[in-house]
């Protein structure tokens, strides 16, 4: 009889599903600081960097012969690694093969989290002047990482909340960077204007601008709020981003904009904050930032258009 009750307990053990396990790990990985005792490239990654051209050629052959193992290896690649474009391609295939829009959105969110984690580690290396690449500077790697993240955001079925969450984290990661690089995600080399990634901040540090492939994303920080404007307009392709004058006009007529608190500023905000700009009677979303010691519930405003 005791064995029977033990059997019941054993068979009702709550377990993580594969998706839950992967999703929780993605969030954990975002919070892992790679500098406990110094972030090091694995010997394998160093070998790949040292022999990139040979590796790229071999990759095609190996992929054809033993696709599974190569795919696993590619998934560990980071922006700037030879296998990184393959990693992205695999992700795009997985998104497109997903059974439903919901599944596609969940996958895209997980991949965006992965991109953020990669960006975090690369930015940490850049700040520590511990460049891990022999043939690519850190700005280029940051550019590729940001570009890859924006691509996931552009091509995905992510929910608005998930997308806004990613923007909030992106702001935190890059808010003290200023880079202007032209990179090709496939080769890591200078390419053309359409592959340009430019991160700019004004003197007050309250505004960041990212340009990539004709999409201009502006993230503003004011009074503890983050506001995102995205413009998809060819006119911006021919114009340089204004210098650090802080006088750049930001139009409210852009195609998309969202206001949110920053993870950093929320530390000072005891509880929820009211958004000051209420002209457009926006919808309020709760956003949970999962990095760091504590999770913070945010209030976010955005247009519904």
């Amino acid at each position: 009889m005791e064995k029977n009750i033990e059997h019941i307990i054993n068979t009702t053990r709550p377990e993580l599903t594969d998706y839950e396990r992967a999703s929780v790990w993605t969030k954990i990985s975002l919070a892992l600081t790679p500098t406990q005792t110094g972030f090091m490239l694995s010997p394998f990654s160093k070998m790949v960097h040292a022999h990139r051209s040979v590796f790229a050629l071999a990759l095609i052959v190996v992929l054809l012969v033993s696709g599974g193992a190569t795919v696993v290896t590619a998934e560990a690649a980071r922006p700037g690694d030879t296998l990184f474009p393959l990693d992205q391609a695999i992700e795009q295939v997985r998104i497109r093969l997903a059974r439903s829009d919901d599944d596609r959105g969940r996958l895209a969110s997980a991949f965006a989290d992965e991109r953020l984690g990669e960006l975090r580690s690369i930015v940490a290396e850049r700040r520590g002047s511990a460049s891990s690449s022999e043939d690519m500077n850190d700005d280029e790697r940051v550019g590729i990482a940001v570009g890859a993240l924006m691509r996931v955001m552009d091509e995905s079925n992510m929910s608005d909340t998930a997308r806004e969450n990613v923007y909030g984290h992106l702001f935190t990661e890059i808010d003290d960077l200023s880079i202007d690089v032209r990179v090709d995600e496939k080769t890591g080399k200078e390419n053309n204007e359409h592959e340009r990634v430019k991160i700019h901040r004004d003197e007050s540090g309250s505004k960041i601008e990212i340009r990539k492939e004709g999409v201009r994303t502006r993230i503003h920080k004011k009074d503890g709020k983050v506001r995102i404007d995205r413009t998809q307009d060819d006119e911006f392709m021919d114009n340089e981003i204004s210098d650090d004058s802080g006088q750049e006009n930001v139009s409210d007529t852009d195609t998309e904009h969202v206001d949110t608190d920053t993870p950093d500023d929320s530390e000072q905000d005891d509880g929820e904050q009211e958004i000051k700009d209420t002209e457009q009677q926006p919808e309020v979303h709760g956003i949970k930032f999962d990095s760091g010691d504590d999770s913070h519930e945010k209030k976010v405003e955005g247009d519904n258009d």
């Binding site: 005791e2 009750i5 929780v24 990985s29 892992l32 406990q36 999770s295």
Partner: protein, 178 residues
């Protein structure tokens, strides 16, 4: 004498403490279900259990550089202490919810994902704290009685006796509800 699994765990802990995220991921794969099933009995829903599992591993990552490995059970005791702290912190921070571990039956809306799990979660609240800990650690977190004894600072035989009585109590409680 150290077994292979002990050596593997010790190695993963040492590498993770040095900042090796790949090793920490292996550690996570090894332990995530143990932690999740443990915290699941103490939370009101699956989502809360997922959040606390996540927080537990983040806290573990930060704590590992200061941890000295002595044995597997000692580490498990360390891990579940972190999980308990995260549970306390979560419910302390939550609005109108103060849940001392001694009174977990007060956790609101403790629902399982299946009817049987739901019944079992409720039946577990009929046990005292130590007995519930033993049942969950043995059946859901898959620890041996010896390991649990070391974790809870009890003899193995005492753990076995408490487990036997707990199963009898659970059997009676479940009968009442069926």
């Amino acid at each position: 004498m150290a077994t292979d699994s002990e050596n593997a765990l010790e190695r993963l802990l040492a590498e993770s403490a040095r900042g090796d995220t790949a090793s920490f991921k292996e550690l996570y794969e090894l332990l995530s279900n143990r932690v999740f099933s443990y915290v699941r009995t103490r939370t009101g829903g699956r989502e809360d259990a997922l959040d606390i599992t996540q927080q537990t591993f983040i806290a573990l990552w930060k704590a590992l550089p200061g941890f000295t490995y002595q044995s597997d059970p000692a580490f498990y005791g360390f891990l579940f202490t972190i999980a308990k702290r995260q549970l306390i912190r979560t419910y302390r921070d939550a609005e109108n919810a103060v849940v001392p571990l001694e009174r977990e039956e007060d956790v609101p809306d403790k629902k399982g994902d299946t009817e049987l799990e739901d019944m079992l979660l409720r039946a577990l609240t009929s046990l005292d704290e130590v007995s519930r800990e033993i049942v969950v650690l043995h059946h859901w977190s898959r620890h041996t009685f010896g390991e649990i004894g070391e974790m809870l600072n009890m003899s193995e035989s005492a753990v076995r006796v408490r487990h036997h009585r707990a199963c009898a109590t659970l059997r009676g409680t479940l009968k009442e509800h069926t």
